[in-house]
């Protein structure tokens, strides 16, 4: 999705930032780090804005150095978003975010949208996180994703054709079996 949005961007007038939540790196996936990662993508395209430089220098002067504070990141994000007519923020796998981090993350996303109405938020996750999202956003556009028959068929054909085993290992009957079994299973998802 990030690439599709990038493809559609013209003349640098659209910024796209994205992040994948993952159980494996839960420790690092705090709201602060996620907002920092979004900001990093927005400012990493060109010269780093002055206010980001200043915040970095300020953090360094604190004894032992200090990591960015969420409130500072939110301020820097607002400034970074401002030059673009449209900014897309994509976060994949919200359900993999720690439950105790989710409210803070959604709150921050809501703050972004309220302060920067041209920001668009693209989220994916299991159906149950929809309820949490709706607590923060009154009107969420929900698109249910289910396996698409055409997508699966296309994928299957390519996998079958690129199978490294010798051709005699799979005759037409076996191929047909594979196709049928997988498409049947898919209809149960």
């Amino acid at each position: 999705m990030i690439d599709r949005l990038c493809d559609q961007a013209r003349d640098g007038d659209i910024a796209v930032a994205g992040l994948y939540c993952d159980f494996l790196t839960w420790r690092e996936q705090t709201t602060t780090n996620i907002m920092g990662a979004i900001l990093k993508q927005l400012v990493g395209r060109g010269d780093i804005p002055k206010d980001v430089h200043e915040a970095f220098q300020k953090g360094k002067r604190v004894f032992g150095g200090r990591e960015p504070l969420l409130v500072d990141l939110m301020r820097m994000l607002r400034i970074a978003i401002a030059p673009f007519p449209r900014v897309f923020i994509c976060i994949d796998g919200l359900d993999e975010c720690l439950p105790e981090n989710l409210p803070g993350l959604l709150q921050s996303l809501r703050d972004i949208v309220q302060e920067s109405p041209k920001a668009r938020i693209f989220l994916t996750g299991r159906p149950h996180v929809g309820r949490a999202i709706q607590r923060y956003f009154a009107r969420v556009v929900v698109i249910p994703i289910s396996p698409n028959t055409d997508d699966i068929r296309e994928y299957l054909e390519r996998r079958l054709n690129s199978d490294p085993k010798p051709p005699e290992a799979m005759d037409d009957d076996l191929r047909a079996d594979v196709r049928r079994t997988i498409l049947d299973k898919m209809s149960d998802m």
Partner: protein, 101 residues
């Protein structure tokens, strides 16, 4: 950010010899190196690597149907303003949410 700057900044994650080295960089010759430090300071997360990994594993055209939906177009176009700022793709594990191109 310039990729090549990574090689200069390896030590900032480890025990930098003395605490003032970062401050010795001036704005001109080490500008890109400071940029690297700033990027790491902003967040330890590096979503671009996950993204590159997913790019390699997915197939083109998967999820194209989504782009054609009215909901997506409306959300993308932003006609709804802040009111319709959020699009949520909801689905059970393994249905391919991550691999929508």
């Amino acid at each position: 950010m310039n990729q090549t700057t990574h090689t200069h900044s390896v030590y900032i994650d480890g025990n930098a010899p003395g605490g003032n080295i970062i401050g010795n960089y001036n704005n001109t010759s080490y500008k890109s190196d400071e940029d690297t430090q700033i990027m790491r300071w902003l967040s330890p997360l590096e979503p671009k690597y996950t993204h590159q990994d997913i790019q390699k594993r997915r197939f083109d055209c998967v999820g194209d149907w989504l782009l054609e939906t009215g909901e997506f177009r409306e959300w993308r176009g932003g006609e709804g303003g802040a009111d319709k700022a959020v699009l949520f793709c909801s689905g059970n594990p393994g249905v391919g949410k991550t691999y929508l191109k």
